[in-house]
Symmetry: C2
Subunit: 495 residues, 2 copies
């Protein structure tokens, strides 16, 4: 059909079976400042009972944004918020009150510390869902998590909504977790204490995705932003374990030009990076790439010319924040880093990663989420992702802590299944997954290799064996594998 459009032209409404809409007029586009306060922003984003609110955790234990947002939700009379934070720390203790008051009733995301302790004793109506970094990213893509409102802390933003975590008093490194949220959320609010001149120089989040910029007094406490599990150990026993991790990499033939490596954020893992830096120097090796969280240890290796590239998805200390302000390197958002549904990730080529554990078992399963008393006190982080992405996944831990066997028959909760764990390095020797006969052949005779059962037995002899837990028929949480499947359930312990 021919029709006259609003420009006065005769156009067709169908060509070759395809329906076409006639031009109906053009208007000028403009913009207005998106800066407002958090209350107005949440109201304009149509916050309502039962909404899913997503947050990132890059302000770590210095985060003020989660608490402030929930307090405003409470003031607005909102109930039954589903939190979809990437993680939360002790600073989020007020979440306990928000739960008690009915403001929050479901949580999908990692929890560290007191809130986890509370929920372990007072389960929510639906178990807390624990996912890895890559698992959460893909869960948003798959629609398992649908943020009604993504609330994103930024240490600087301009009035149009371009936002960063790289500069400003509350700088925490590039925003890395929220890119998938802004693509899938119905509404997006940037929360910042630092509105700067347009256009912002760093733009991990761009205005195209942003509805409002909520200005607050402080997004966090800078001295607690860089903290937590990011300090190197000083315990000689743990340092010894760290050193053995590097010996294992070396014996496995991985310490060579072009190697790609990562460390987790735990004290032993970080110490291993220090020793790895020294080993690279001794052997005159230049690694290709470090991935994961950026620390001064990694910056040092880079500046010594012992690793050519640094891919980083988080920044863990002040030194590193200043470092990237001068030399951005290769920031990798979590999708680039670990999305298991993508066609290629920075961690897929990892030669080795050193990770921690609260428990490991004789099937090489690893627990990082619960303590042996059953309490859910930690998130997953990139544990699963890097274990599966690495050729040599090393778990570093003592065989026991105080009266608690760390190596045991069965972990309390499976975070990362033994299928993807290659070696467990302890203060009493190194256990290698029997699936890795190739690795056993390689390192045999060079290192103190012991059967995992022997380590378990030592632990049981020293401690009298594990505390037996009795559970109630109430779910506290669940761990999911990064493909979305249910790996394990966390039950409430009988008091």
């Amino acid at each position: 059909m021919k029709i006259e459009n609003s420009a006065g032209r005769i156009v067709e409404t169908e060509i070759a079976g395809e329906t076409l809409k006639p031009f109906a007029g053009a208007k000028k586009y403009s913009y207005s400042s998106k800066v407002t306060d958090l209350k107005y922003a949440l109201k304009k984003c149509d916050i309502k009972d039962g909404d899913t609110l997503s947050f990132h955790h890059q302000l770590r234990n210095g985060d003020y944004v989660i608490n402030q947002t929930l307090a405003v939700a409470r003031d607005l009379g909102i109930k039954n918020i589903r939190m979809a934070q990437t993680a939360m720390f002790n600073v989020c203790e007020p979440v306990i009150d928000f739960i008690k008051e009915g403001v929050v009733n479901r949580i999908e995301g990692s929890i560290n510390g007191v809130v986890g302790d509370y929920i372990s004793k007072n389960p929510l109506i639906y178990p807390v869902v624990l996912r890895s970094h890559g698992g959460r990213w893909s869960a948003v893509k798959r629609g398992e998590i649908h943020p009604d409102i993504a609330v994103i802390a930024a240490s600087a933003a301009d009035e149009r909504g371009n936002a960063t975590g790289i500069i400003g008093d509350s700088a925490f490194g590039p925003i890395s977790y929220s890119q998938v949220d802004v693509m899938y959320a119905d509404h997006v609010i940037i929360v910042t204490d630092n509105v700067v001149e347009y256009p912002l120089k760093f733009q991990e989040i761009q205005e195209r995705h942003v509805d409002y910029v909520a200005q607050v007094d402080k997004i966090g406490d800078p001295k607690n932003i860089m903290s937590g599990t990011t300090k190197i150990t000083e315990d000689p026993m743990k340092l010894h374990i760290a050193h053995d991790c590097v010996d294992l990499m070396d014996a496995a033939g991985l310490i060579k030009d072009g190697m790609i490596f990562q460390s987790g954020a735990g004290g032993i893992s970080l110490a291993a990076m220090k020793y790895l830096g020294e080993r690279l120097e001794e052997k005159d090796v230049v690694a290709s790439t470090a991935t994961g969280g950026l620390t001064k240890l990694i910056c040092d290796i880079y500046q010594a010319g012992r690793v050519k590239n640094v891919y980083y998805s988080q920044v863990f200390d002040d030194y590193s924040v200043k470092f990237i302000q001068n030399d951005l390197g290769l920031p990798a958002d979590i999708g680039h880093y670990a999305d298991p549904t993508s066609k290629g990730r920075t961690i897929d080529g990892l030669d080795t990663v050193v990770l921690g554990a609260t428990e490991v078992d004789i099937n090489f399963n690893v627990n990082v989420n619960t303590h042996s008393d059953g309490r859910m006190l930690h998130g997953i982080g990139g544990h699963q992702d890097t274990a599966a992405g690495s050729s040599l996944c090393i778990i570093a831990c003592p065989v026991f802590r105080k009266t608690n066997p760390i190596v045991r028959e069965k972990v309390t909760t499976i975070t990362t299944p033994g299928d993807v764990v290659d070696a467990i390095v302890t203060n009493e020797g190194i256990a290698i997954n029997p699936k890795r006969q190739d690795l056993i052949e390689k390192v045999k005779g060079k290192l103190n290799i012991v059967p995992i059962e022997d380590l378990k037995n030592m632990a049981y002899e020293e401690t009298g064996g594990p505390q037996e837990l009795e559970f109630e028929d109430k779910l506290v949480g669940m761990t999911r594998w990064f493909d979305g499947t249910v790996l394990d359930l966390i039950w409430k312990v009988k008091e």
Copy 2:
């Protein structure tokens, strides 16, 4: 239901009405090189008759990738390809043969030059669809264009598929057009003549989206990559028009600290940038931001300290390529720049833009696509986008060219409707859209403002009026407004 998963844990298959899948095993992730040749890549991407293949045009008149890809498709016996290039230039003359041979039968994308001329005389089975930069981006988002295979030229790529246009012998500036293609295409092939060590330092396209890296001898001819409509005019009459454009901005009160501006790629528009730089200097004004295509002219203004920021979506000359290699500034992909479905774009704050025209009419409609003889010889580029995004859209053109009236009763084809065109600056005076009474009030008495009808009359007197065209009932192409509606149809001229 309780079930034992493959990690030996008893898990629920349903909680609170939500179905859950039990863990079914974990495997190691790895990677292998994606580098191959173009033929293998196309085969592995399951190329078949009727597929839509998308390309960007950033190699401009030096592009070898479109021709090479279609030649391989022909060798594979493929028919009826729908091309979805962002633009093509004279270098793509072989496309005429591919059309004749049935390899290509539909084109959705801008065409410049000989292929447009051919199609104007030999229409395809479906009209060529011409969209603006932002219109094309949103068309891919909306599904109007669905690339089966996105074929993306890169001047450097690593074996995992990270890709850039910033470095290498065939550098053409950051890849800016293809981000939306890689998100929506079924398959993605990077085509490069420069496979570099992993990880590539610039990554406009990341491995997460890439299936194959097709290595070819040359992606293009560097000396023709930077060419075409990107040379400043030397014609005194046109320089005069350019100067008047800047006078108009000035009279409108736009040349002040914080201004945001852009030029199109035509000779007069570029000259206007030169004069604008001088005016900024004279008035001691510091602009906020330049957007659009980067040229030495803009780099000069930036280096003189007369514009604080440079947002760029294309790079038009060698000088600018080297410039950004040292100071990346603010590259903006086309989504950031002009996606009309986004929540904010770099062009939404444009104070002014200077654009060209092949024709304008008394309703301020602008034609850049067809010549007055009816031939479809040019693409839309960012014309529509910046016209609508700017407070003052200036069209710069002479009132006539040789025997052809440029200002006329009715443009041959509407590219950009008069609704969003504010002023037409010619060698015989400036016509201001009567809708802009505010602007007329502001500049009255300062400039030679003339009614558009007078300009038309002058043009008709000098030329004897426009050539009358007779059309056949065959469609050559259509222009769409960036919201997807049909703005105008391009009919075959009777021979």
